[in-house]
C-alpha cells in the first residue's frame, strides 16, 4: 500500500503545483478539484471515510462550483 | 443555575445572532432592541459569573456530560470571567452607539447583518476565553476571525472591501499555523484538553523538544497575525480605518485582545513558565513587542487620518501587552492583564469618538478638524481623556497598567530590564507627540469666532463615550478590584 500512497501523494503535490502555476484560472480551479478528489482518496486510504466523503462533497464539489461561479462573474485569465 | 452560566452566555449570544434574520423578517425595527437586550443580559450573567468565580473558585463545565479528557471542557477561571465581563460590557456600549451611527455608515439592507455579526463575534469571543479545549479554541478563533473581516467589509465601499479582503487573507494565513500547532501538540501528548495536554507536555518535552518548540512557534505566529503583533500587523491600519466606527471599536478594543488571551492560555497552560523561559521564543516575542511599541508610535506620528492615527497607536499598545506577558514576572503579567481591560476601554472610546466626529463633520482628516473641540466639547474632552490615559498620565487608568509593566521590567532586572523601561518611557513621549497636535488643533485651532455649541449628536452616540470615559477615570482612581483580579489571574498563570 505504501507505494500507492506515495504515488498518490506525489501526484497530489504535482496537482498543487500545477494549480498554482496555471495561468488559466478555470484550468487552475479544475486542477484544484482533482487535487481535492485525490486528497479524498488518500483519506480513504488512511481509514477516515468520514473525512473523505466530506472532502469529496465540499472540496471537490462546492468549492469548485463557487469558484467557477466567481470566474464566470470576473475574468478567466490572470 | 449559576453552574450553567459559562455556556449560557455563549449560547444565548449565538442563538441571538441566528434569531436576528427571523426577527428582521417579522419587524426590522426590533433588531436593535432585542440584540441590546441579549447583550445586556449576557453582561449581567458574566458579572454574576465573575462574582461566583472570585468567591468560590473556578467552574468546570463539561459539555454533554462527557468528562475530560474526552469531552469538551469549559473552564470559567478568573481570567476568563474577567474577559467575559469586558467583552460583553464593551459590546453592549458599542451596540448602543451603533443604534444611530450605522444609519449613516451601513446600507439599509446590511444593517440587520451588523447586529447578527456583533452577537456572533461576541459570543465566539466569550467562548474563546472560557474554553479549555484546544480544538474548541480553534473553532472559536475561526468564528471571530471570519466575523472580523465581515465587520470591516460590511461598509461595502471600495476601501472597506479591499481592507476586509486583506484582513481575511492574513487571518486565514494565521489560522493554518494555529491548527498545525494543535496537531503537533496532539501528536506528542494525545490530548486536546489543555490541562491534560499541559501535564503530558512536561513529560514528553525531553523526548520531542523540537516538536514542542515548533508548535510553540506556530502558535506565536498564528495568534500574532491575528492579534497584530508588530511585523505581522500589516492588515491592521487599513482594516480599522475603513471599517464603520462601531466595528473598529469592537475589533480594536476586543478582538485583538481575545487572541492575546488565547495565546496566553495556550502558552502558559501547555508549557508552563519553566519551559517557556528556557526556549528562545520568549526572547523573540519580547523583541517583536518592543519593535511594535516603538514602530507603532513612530508610524502614528505622521498620519493625517484620525482613525488611522488611532489604529497605529493600537499596534504600540498591543506591543505593551505582549511585552508584559513575555517578561513573565508577577508584576508585568498583572500589568498586561490590566492593560487588556484599560486598552479595551480607551481604544473603543477613541474609535467611537472618531465615529462621532465623522458623523458630524463627515471628514476624518486631522487638518480639517480645527476647532472641533469648541463645536463638540463633550466628544473632544473624552477623546482628550483617552489620549492622556494612553500617554499614561497619573489618575487615569493607562497609568496603572504601564506602571505595573514598568515594575515588571525592573523586576526582570539587569540591563535588559532597564532597556524595556526606557522603551516604555520613550513610547509614552511619542504617544504625547502624536496625540497633542490633534488636541491642540481641536481646542485652539480653527476660526476663533466660532461659538461654543453643545454636541448636537444624538444621545445614543454621546452616552457610550461618556460612560467609557467615566470608566477610564474611575479605574484610574480606584483600580483595586480589577487589579486584584489581574494579580490573582497572573499568579495562577505563572503557577505560583
Amino acid at each position: 500500500m505504501a507505494i500507492l500512497d506515495l504515488l498518490l501523494l506525489s501526484i497530489l503535490v504535482l496537482c498543487a503545483l500545477a494549480a498554482v502555476r496555471t495561468r488559466d484560472l478555470l484550468g487552475a480551479v479544475i486542477i484544484y478539484a482533482a487535487y481535492s478528489l485525490l486528497m479524498a482518496i488518500i483519506w480513504l486510504q488512511l481509514g477516515s471515510p468520514d473525512v473523505a466523503i466530506t472532502e469529496a462533497a465540499l472540496g471537490a464539489g462546492v468549492t469548485t462550483i463557487l469558484m467557477i461561479a466567481t470566474i464566470s462573474k470576473t475574468g478567466r485569465y490572470e | 443555575m449559576i453552574y450553567q452560566l459559562p455556556v449560557l452566555i455563549v449560547v444565548q449570544l449565538l442563538l441571538g445572532s441566528f434569531l436576528m434574520p427571523i426577527v428582521g423578517r417579522i419587524r426590522n425595527q426590533l433588531i436593535p432592541h432585542i440584540s441590546l437586550f441579549l447583550m445586556g443580559l449576557a453582561n449581567v450573567f458574566s458579572i454574576i459569573l465573575l462574582f461566583r468565580v472570585v468567591r468560590e473558585g473556578n467552574i468546570h463545565y463539561h459539555l454533554g456530560n462527557w468528562a475530560p479528557p474526552w469531552g469538551i471542557e469549559i473552564v470559567a477561571d478568573l481570567l476568563g470571567a474577567y474577559m467575559a465581563v469586558i467583552i460583553t460590557g464593551i459590546s453592549f456600549l458599542v451596540l448602543v452607539f451603533a443604534w444611530r451611527d450605522i444609519q449613516r455608515e451601513i446600507n439599509y439592507a446590511l444593517r440587520g447583518w451588523f447586529y447578527t455579526l456583533v452577537l456572533l463575534i461576541s459570543g465566539a469571543m466569550v467562548g474563546m476565553v472560557l474554553t479549555n479545549d484546544l480544538f474548541n479554541l480553534y473553532v472559536m478563533v475561526e468564528i471571530v476571525s471570519l466575523c472580523g473581516p465581515a465587520l470591516v467589509a460590511i461598509r461595502n465601499n471600495r476601501l472597506a472591501v479591499e481592507a476586509g479582503f486583506k484582513y481575511l487573507v492574513m487571518i486565514a494565513l494565521g489560522s493554518g499555523p494555529i491548527l498545525f500547532g494543535i496537531a503537533l501538540i496532539y501528536m506528542i501528548t494525545g490530548h486536546l484538553n489543555m490541562t491534560f495536554a499541559g501535564q503530558e507536555v512536561l513529560n514528553v518535552i525531553h523526548e520531542y523538544p523540537r516538536v514542542a518548540l515548533l508548535a510553540q512557534a506556530f502558535f506565536i505566529v498564528g495568534f500574532g497575525v491575528k492579534a497584530a503583533l508588530f511585523p505581522l500587523h500589516v492588515w491592521l491600519p487599513d482594516a480599522y480605518t475603513s471599517a464603520p466606527s462601531p466595528s473598529s471599536a469592537l475589533l480594536a478594543g476586543l478582538a485583538a485582545k481575545v487572541y492575546i488571551v488565547g495565546l496566553t492560555r495556550v502558552l502558559f497552560n501547555l508549557y508552563g513558565i519553566d519551559v517557556l523561559a528556557t526556549t528562545p521564543l520568549f526572547t523573540i516575542l519580547k523583541v517583536m513587542a518592543v519593535a511594535g511599541i516603538i514602530m507603532g508610535s513612530i508610524m502614528a506620528l505622521n498620519q493625517k487620518d484620525i482613525k488611522r492615527l488611532v489604529a497605529y497607536s493600537s499596534v504600540a499598545q498591543i506591543g505593551y501587552i505582549f511585552l508584559g506577558l513575555s517578561l513573565a514576572t508577577g508584576f508585568s503579567v498583572t500589568g498586561a492583564i490590566l492593560h487588556i481591560l484599560n486598552h479595551a476601554l480607551i481604544k473603543s472610546m477613541m474609535f467611537l469618538c472618531c465615529g462621532v466626529i465623522i458623523y458630524q463633520k463627515k471628514t476624518s482628516n486631522v487638518d480639517e478638524l480645527g476647532g472641533v473641540g469648541k463645536e463638540f466639547p463633550i466628544t473632544m474632552i473624552c477623546f482628550g481623556i483617552g489620549a492622556f490615559a494612553m500617554v499614561g498620565i497619573p489618575m487615569l487608568n493607562g497609568f496603572i497598567s504601564k506602571w505595573y509593566i514598568s515594575l515588571g521590567a525592573l523586576e526582570y532586572g539587569g540591563l535588559a530590564g532597564l532597556m524595556y523601561l526606557l522603551v516604555i518611557i520613550i513610547s509614552s513621549l511619542l504617544n504625547g507627540l502624536y496625540y497633542l497636535p490633534v488636541l491642540i488643533k481641536a481646542f485652539l485651532g480653527g476660526d476663533s469666532q466660532k461659538e461654543t455649541v453643545f454636541d448636537k449628536a444624538p444621545i445614543t452616540l454621546i452616552l457610550p463615550i461618556v460612560i467609557l470615559a467615566a470608566g477610564i477615570i474611575i479605574l484610574g482612581l480606584l483600580p483595586f478590584v480589577p487589579l486584584q483580579i489581574a494579580a490573582d489571574a497572573a499568579q495562577h498563570l505563572l503557577g505560583q
Binding site: 471515510p49 468520514d50 473523505a52 466523503i53 466530506t54 461561479a69 | -
Partner: protein, 143 residues
C-alpha cells in the same frame, strides 16, 4: 449554443436530481451509522439544487428559494441545534446532554439509535444545504 438550450441535458438533469437528493438525505439520516452526516449530506442536496440552477436558469432557481426564505431556513437549522442542546439543561444535565433527555438511544447499528445525534445532523443538513445554495445564488446574481 447556450447551455439552457440543450434538451438532452435538461431531460437528463430532471431525471438525475431526485436520485442525488435521495442520496443526500440518506447520507444525512444515516450519518451516525456510516460515513457522512449532516454536513456532507447537506452539501449533496445543495449540489442537486445548484445543478438545477445551472441547467435551467438561476432566476428560475431563485423563485424556488428566495434569499429571505433561505436566511429563514438557515436560522431555523441553527436554532434547532441550539434548542436540542438546551433540552439537556432542562432535564438538569449539561448543554448537549444526550443520554438522559428521553430520546431512546436504541441499538447501535440500527437507524433509530444515537439519541440526539440523528436529530442534530438533520438540523445541520438543512442549514448547510440552504446556505450553500444561497451562496451560489449570491455569487452569480447580477447586481
Amino acid at each position: 449554443m447556450r447551455m439552457q438550450e440543450i434538451l438532452i441535458l435538461k431531460i437528463v438533469v430532471r431525471f438525475v436530481i431526485p436520485f442525488i437528493q435521495v442520496y443526500g438525505f440518506y447520507v444525512i439520516t444515516a450519518g451516525h451509522l456510516s460515513p457522512g452526516g449532516g454536513f456532507a449530506g447537506g452539501t449533496i442536496v445543495a449540489a442537486s439544487m445548484v445543478l438545477y440552477a445551472l441547467t435551467f436558469d438561476a432566476s428560475q432557481g431563485l423563485e424556488k428559494l428566495s434569499h429571505e426564505r433561505a436566511s429563514l431556513f438557515e436560522s431555523l437549522g441553527a436554532i434547532w441545534y441550539v434548542a436540542l442542546g438546551f433540552l439537556g439543561i432542562l432535564v438538569g444535565g449539561n448543554f448537549l446532554t444526550n443520554g438522559q433527555i428521553g430520546i431512546p438511544l436504541g441499538t447501535p447499528g440500527y437507524l433509530i439509535s444515537g439519541g440526539l445525534i440523528p436529530l442534530l445532523s438533520f438540523g445541520i443538513g438543512i442549514k448547510v444545504a440552504v446556505t450553500v445554495v444561497s451562496l451560489y445564488y449570491s455569487l452569480v446574481e447580477e447586481d
